[in-house]
């Protein structure tokens, strides 16, 4: 039997069950560590009226931005609109509901969602527009906001390697929001660059345990770079 084999046959199967009006939590920071092909599959399916929870929303023609172009998103919970003109346009025009959420609060909301913590207090956002309508409480002479956790119908995650049981390893700063996203989906779908046999990953070095992963697929990735900053290779450190 293969009760723990999470590998699915194709991207259609990976995103099966996603319906109009659902909430999708996505890993990734900017264009780094984003589940590129799962996003493409959502675009292909044409699912509408989605609530997307993600730190950013890609750029106009890549990442989650492609879902904005097709008007598949009705609400976004994000910390940064960034250099996405269509995002900014839809937000300013009111077509798109945007819940701007501080980056650390967003990360913690996802973690809390996955960890069975319905709400927590944080000093972040006290006295700012983020705090409007939220409970403020004083602990040790300091004010804190009550923030509620987030869970999604789906979580879409990009990892580097996985074993078939869904144990995940991330690579460098492509980790970012992915580990929390992975815990916060009713159905968590993960795409990776390589799938290995159970037992090949060091148990001490697994970033996300397979218990959080429902579906797993191997993909190929463009990994577009947003800001290609380089130093000349002839300077002292580059020699």
């Amino acid at each position: 039997m293969s009760g723990f084999n999470k590998v699915v046959a194709n991207y259609q199967e990976a995103m099966a069950g996603l319906e109009d009006g659902m909430t999708v939590i996505a890993g990734g920071f900017g264009l780094c560590g984003i589940p590129e092909n799962l996003i493409s599959e959502i675009k292909r399916k044409g699912t509408k009226d989605l609530t997307i929870v993600s730190n950013n929303c890609g750029v106009d023609d890549f990442g989650l931005g492609v879902l904005l172009t097709d008007r598949q998103i009705s609400k976004i919970v994000a910390s940064y609109v960034g250099e996405n003109a269509e995002f900014e346009r839809q937000m300013m025009s009111g077509e798109l509901e945007v819940e701007l959420t501080p980056q650390g609060t967003l990360a913690e909301k996802m973690r809390a969602g996955g960890a069975g913590i319905p709400a927590f207090f944080t000093a972040t956002g006290v006295g700012t527009p983020v705090g409007e309508g939220k409970e403020v409480r004083t602990f040790n002479d300091r004010e804190y906001l009550l923030e509620e956790s987030i869970r999604g119908d789906f979580a879409i995650v990009k990892a580097w390697k996985a074993d078939k049981y869904g144990n995940l390893v991330y690579r460098k700063t492509a980790r970012n929001f992915n580990p929390m996203a992975a815990t916060a989906g009713k159905i968590t779908v993960v795409e990776v660059e390589e799938i290995v046999e159970p037992g090949e990953l060091d148990p001490d070095q697994i970033h996300t345990a397979g218990i959080y992963v429902d579906r797993l697929i191997v993909g190929t990735f463009e990994k577009r770079i947003e800001q290609r900053t380089v130093r000349p290779s002839h300077n002292k450190s580059g020699e």
Partner: protein
């Protein structure tokens, strides 16, 4: 009036570094501070997307799409770096473990309020990690020009823009001066070379206190 250049501002901020500091540098002038770390000192840069020990930009050969900083720029890792999730990164920040945070702003006021992320109707980029950074750090230096291009003061009695954080800023370095915020007032600590106290007063809307030990900035 000889306002500081961006590089001079970064140099002055760099004087506040201490050996062994973990530092988070925001985008813009704060980023330049990394270029002026004194030779006899080691600091480690925290990038809030999940990297402690940010190195310099990569060479063409070293570019790695999986390794960027909070400004989405390709970077490298310094020796002894570590990588972690965004939740862990902000646990570090919110928990007060970062020794110094340097970031830009649109406005700061005499109560230590800061506005830096939004101009209603004009600019809505989002706060990113800035709200967490100002709430989490004890030791923050705001870097910005003293006044706008139109000559409007950015050191106010009350911030006019939506706040990034409340009562959290204690130190401001502008292109004209280095100031401390205390007891609802700006305290002038240093003036830039070639800038007069009168010029600073004229461009500071919030109450400005000039202590007797004010001195010229050394860069």
């Amino acid at each position: 009036m000889m306002a500081l250049t961006r590089e001079q501002m970064a140099k002055r901020v760099a004087q506040e570094l201490q050996d062994g500091y973990y530092v988070n540098l925001g985008i813009g002038i704060p980023t330049l501070v990394a270029n002026y770390v004194p030779d006899n000192m080691e600091v480690m840069l925290q990038s809030e997307n999940g990297l402690l020990g940010m190195g310099q930009f990569p060479t063409e050969d070293e570019i790695d799409a999986d390794l960027i900083n909070a400004g989405k720029q390709t970077v490298t890792m310094a020796t002894g770096a570590s990588v972690f999730s965004s939740a862990e990164s902000f646990a570090m920040i919110r928990g007060g473990h970062v020794d110094l945070t340097v970031l830009g702003a649109f406005e700061v006021d005499v109560n230590g309020n800061i506005a830096s992320y939004m101009i209603p109707g004009k600019l809505i980029k989002g706060m990113g990690g800035a709200m967490d950074l100002v709430a989490g750090a004890d030791n923050i230096i705001v870097t910005m020009t003293h006044a706008s291009k139109h000559g409007d003061s950015k050191l106010l009695a009350n911030c006019s823009l939506p706040l990034t954080g409340k009562n959290c800023i204690k130190k401001v370095l502008t292109d004209l001066a280095y100031l401390e915020i205390q007891d609802g007032k700006f305290h002038l600590l240093e003036y830039a070379p070639g800038v007069t106290i009168e010029q600073i007063k004229a461009l500071t809307e919030g109450e400005l206190v000039v202590d007797s030990n004010v001195k010229e900035m050394v860069i």
